[in-house]
Amino acid sequence: MQAFEYARPKTAQEAVALLASEWGKSELLAGGSDLLSRMKDDVSAPQRIVSLSGVHELRGIAASARGLRLGALVTLDELETHPAVREHYAGIAQAVEQVGGPQIRNVGTVGGNLCQRPRCWYYRNGFGLLATYKGRPLVPDGDNRYHAIFGNEGPAYFVSPSSLAPILIALGASLRLLGPDGPRDLPVEQFFVTPKSEAEREHAIKPNEVITEVLVPPANGTKSGFYEILQKESLDWPLAMAAVALQMEGRRVEKARVVLGQVAPVPWPSAEAEEALKGKMVSEEVAEEAGRAAASKATPLSKNKYKVQLARVAVKRAVLLAAGLVKKGEV
């Protein structure tokens, strides 16, 4: 690992001032699970690390009538065990309780989960975010078993790795970012973008901006659920995940939000699944139909057709969990 300068600001404003205005020169450090892995592999080699550990304004969960305010440094463990989160935002608790293992959830943060870089093995081995060699894309003819099945017309083929993003988008959450020109708010959905060139990032954040908080609207009875499929149950990367938020009148769905993860370069909202649920009484058949609708427009690559089936099942089970027709562990 290359040597770097270590800065410990006390405020978010100070942190912003310490960040370089171009990518690669400086990196923010929260829990460090992703950053240290990239630095060990020389995928990232910042000259300066700006540690957020002393920036106390970025901590804390506040649940009120205005919704949920999550400081960017809230750990996944704090989020998973928070009573108001478990009671009103079941989908969030379900999304974080399987991230990594207990040690990872003790250090991993809300901001870090949203900002982690893709797991694409070409990217992690130095072929860049778009995975090219001498200008040629490596993924379409390469080992693409873990790559995108939606939004994969190129040049990006990686999948968005965040477990929190799909459920936050389904719940209509937004982010607050602080930069040199002050704060700005952005819906979480707009935070994720598909890069068109190697110079672009998959996040709509500037090199010298910091996520300060995530704001989730009041639940107001919205039922949410999350389901992910992993190859093995312990400490593994999910292959497909689905987050569902339902506004219901009894068992009838007034409005549904369905967002898939690990299937596209960005968290992937499924208008097809949302349409399949609207106005319906939730049942196993309706959930099945939502899954089928979600998978209907998938465009798998040469080695990842299996992910289409996984996405279908993830949506079905997330719908059943959200509607309360099954409990976690029963599906």
């Binding site: 290359q2 540690s51 293992g101 040690q103 990872i104 312990s234």
Partner: protein
């Protein structure tokens, strides 16, 4: 860069490079080699220690991140030679063969029992999902933690 940490109850100050990993600090600077380095990629959990009471993988933390913190390593569990119930449990129930994963297993179990003093076998397996063992097949580890849970609540 100067850091001050309380390791197993004793404060110490050291000058470290910011890129020094916590596990290397504990082993090479503090001389506490009970914390093992397994995969060095935050998968195996052999390097698990407690920082301010929370289990972390010390291979994926810079030593400077622990500045001001209290750290507990396996050596700190039996300060006067008297085995901690978890250590005794791993002994009684044969929770180890080669022993490489054991310090991490025990410290992950320590956090587990602090949060949930009476875990079911399923909860023990979930609590230890961040730790790999290549000898025991886990069954004896689960029994060792159950043994410790019973001893600690009696």
């Amino acid at each position: 860069m100067k850091i001050k940490v309380k390791v197993n109850g004793a404060w110490r100050e050291d000058e470290v490079e910011p890129r020094l990993l916590l596990v290397h600090y504990l082993r090479d600077v503090a001389g506490l080699t009970g914390t093992h380095i397994g995969c060095e990629t935050s998968i195996c959990g052999a390097c698990t220690v407690l920082v301010n009471g929370e289990a972390v993988k010390s291979c994926t933390l810079f030593a400077v991140q622990a500045d001001g913190a209290e750290i507990l390593t396996i050596e700190g569990l039996a300060p006067d030679g008297q085995l901690h119930p978890l250590q005794q449990g791993f002994w009684e129930e044969h929770g180890l063969q080669c022993g490489f994963c054991t310090p991490g297993m025990i410290l992950a179990s320590y956090q587990l029992l602090k949060r949930n003093p009476h875990p079911s076998p399923e909860e023990i397996r979930q609590g230890l999902e961040g730790n790999l063992c290549r000898c025991t097949g886990y069954q004896h580890i689960v029994k060792a933690v159950e043994w410790a849970a019973a001893r600690m609540s009696s």
